[in-house]
Symmetry: C2
Subunit: 377 residues, 2 copies
């Protein structure tokens, strides 16, 4: 059995993540789960937020998938229970797993929207405390600690990162793009305290697909799953934007991971971006650091099932590619992980496959995976 490091999985937060952590005065406004008899949903500052079915399909057949809201009892326990999750993953050789939030959104963009900034701050800290004290604590050798941050205040965010570095933080999750969320863009020096502490500490900055606040334009009549197919389009956009931006120029050791964004588009996008970067140099003022230079130094990309992407792995950079499981979302390969990974890597030399499935992530996140249980055990 291969030892696998999944660079992108998801936690469906248990109902009491916030209510058991926030001060009493915030209990009514902090996220909590209500059952109105018909459905369970989250309530945050008085607003209802259902759990979308497609975010918790692990263990279900494709025929059962839908966007409809679900209850906790509709999900397998591995969605929200770290003990069940650890067992599910270990059984398939996934020995390390990095987990993104659900209710706070992948990049933590829910909390800056709250009216009460003090509540928002408490909610960010509560999720991070849950990550360490409840999620990672169950299987500290498996769960790679990631934090969300106070996106509305980069100094506060840097302090929160520092607080979590003290207990072993390896990554933060922020949106692919922030200026649509009413926050300064990544071209703005507003974010420097965050880049600075991440660069200094070697903390990876993960940006998950679907976290940018916009979608490529599709007409209203389009098949609803077209948007799933197009999910990588904002990632292409923002990854190229980051390659053009001041961030990697001011913070040359910054480490940015595009989570669930796929890998197969990278060589084409770099080819186009490099050509345009050079060709439009004079009137636009681009410098001599090419988009591909930034990419090959500062960026990592994640694959689930991309045979073509793997074939062109050397055009991406064999050390830039991370494997992910995406448990418990709709692209998830669990519970057939080993079989699917074996087929996917059938034509890839063992040392290269090992880089992609475990070693690159170990180095990036400064982590050491336990070996997978043998197939016989």
């Amino acid at each position: 059995m291969r030892t696998l490091f999944s660079a992108d999985d998801h936690i469906v937060e248990p109902a009491d993540v916030w209510s058991k952590r926030v001060p009493r005065k915030f209990l009514e406004d902090a996220p909590h789960v209500v059952d109105d008899g018909e459905m369970e949903f989250w309530v945050v500052e008085g607003t209802k937020m259902p759990t979308i079915g497609l975010n918790a399909v692990a263990g279900k057949s494709e025929e059962e998938w839908s966007f409809d809201p679900v209850r906790f009892s509709d999900m397998i326990p591995g969605c929200y229970d770290p003990k069940a999750r650890a067992e599910d993953l270990r059984a398939e050789g996934i020995m390390a797993s990095l987990n993104f939030p659900t209710l706070p959104r992948f990049g933590g963009a829910l909390f800056p929207e709250l009216k009460d900034r003090q509540l928002a701050d408490v909610c960010v800290q509560a999720w991070n405390d849950f990550m360490f004290d409840e999620w990672c604590a169950v299987a500290p050798e498996m769960f790679v600690p990631m934090a969300i941050v106070q996106l509305w205040d980069a100094d506060l965010a840097a302090k929160e990162i520092e607080r979590n570095l003290g207990r072993g933080l390896r990554a933060i999750s922020i949106p692919e793009e922030t200026s649509l969320l009413g926050l300064p863009s990544y071209y703005n020096s507003f974010w420097d305290p965050v880049w600075d502490i991440c660069q200094q500490s070697g903390t990876a900055v993960c940006m998950h697909i679907g976290s940018s606040g916009w979608r490529p334009y599709t007409p209203p009549e389009a098949n609803p799953s077209l948007n799933v197919a197009l999910g990588f389009v904002p990632t292409i956009t923002h990854a190229l934007g980051m390659m053009y931006s001041p961030v990697p120029r001011k913070f040359p050791d910054i480490k940015i991971v595009y989570s669930e964004g796929g890998i197969n588009w990278v060589p084409g996008a770099l080819e186009r971006a490099d050509r345009m970067y050079k060709r439009h140099k004079y009137w636009s003022g681009t410098d001599d650091v090419l988009p591909s230079d930034v990419c090959r130094k500062n960026m990592w990309f994640c694959l689930i099932e991309e045979p073509y992407g793997l074939r062109v792995r050397h055009d991406i950079g064999i050390d830039r590619i991370l494997w992910e499981c995406d448990y418990p979302h709709s692209s998830c390969v669990w519970p057939n992980t080993q079989k699917i990974v074996d087929e996917l890597f059938a034509d890839v030399p063992a040392d290269e496959a090992e880089m992609i499935t475990v070693r690159n992530a170990e180095r990036l996140f400064n982590w050491s995976c336990q070996p997978a249980p043998s197939a016989a055990s």
Copy 2:
């Protein structure tokens, strides 16, 4: 010298295209050129429209490029004069050339915006008459006739296509996406008369990059040339949208060309789209015709300089790829065409190179290229 077919070049319309064709009552509102002493610009229904410098850079070095408006006298004659153009192209072995409009926009989306629909109709017809009577007439063996259509009325558009088929029409140019222009989307049966006559007559439907009315989101501080690098993002979006749409299902022989959209992103986009199309079948109702099936039957893609794209040509489909020059725009390879093409195809077998540079386009547009003058002549 190689014989080349350029599937995408651009006409900068001469000043009198409309004023010498429209009835007297429309003279004031139809497009005409005014010089206010500082600059020349087009005026259409009272609105000023400059010619953007980047649309007429042929023959200029990159240091001279800018987005600033230009005069006709700032351009080389090949931009607007078909005789000069034909000489420029022939000298570099480009023996066939398909040309897109500039003032009407690449897909003719200017005219549906006019207040006066009768004027709009007359303007569409005038451009097409110019295309045949002035542009193609100068070098009928070289210039491949393309028309724009009355986008606000698909029956009128079909009649206009029919009118032009009578004099040898080979292609029409319509926007990559129409619903942002206040028109029905391509998912709507509104467009059936256009698809129908194009399918019946084998007329290619060209959709040029930058014609969709939206751009991928970038923050205001981004380098202005980032949008050039991202120009293929709407093409990816709308090509996948078309693969999911009813159009190729209702009109299985339709021929769609994504002009200047590049080729290198195609295999990755197909890999992702096919996976999602199958995976989300049950809840979204996708059928058994995969995006890649549509692509390999109904679509063509254009390359200028993409060494990586050429390397993965068999993943795109060797018969799906057209070469283009992009005269006189900023991606244009003229006046170094033969040298650049030789370098680009250095590792491609001669028969495959010939397919991409001339034979695929000849078959698609039902055209027969004269051989290039020998290098010595």
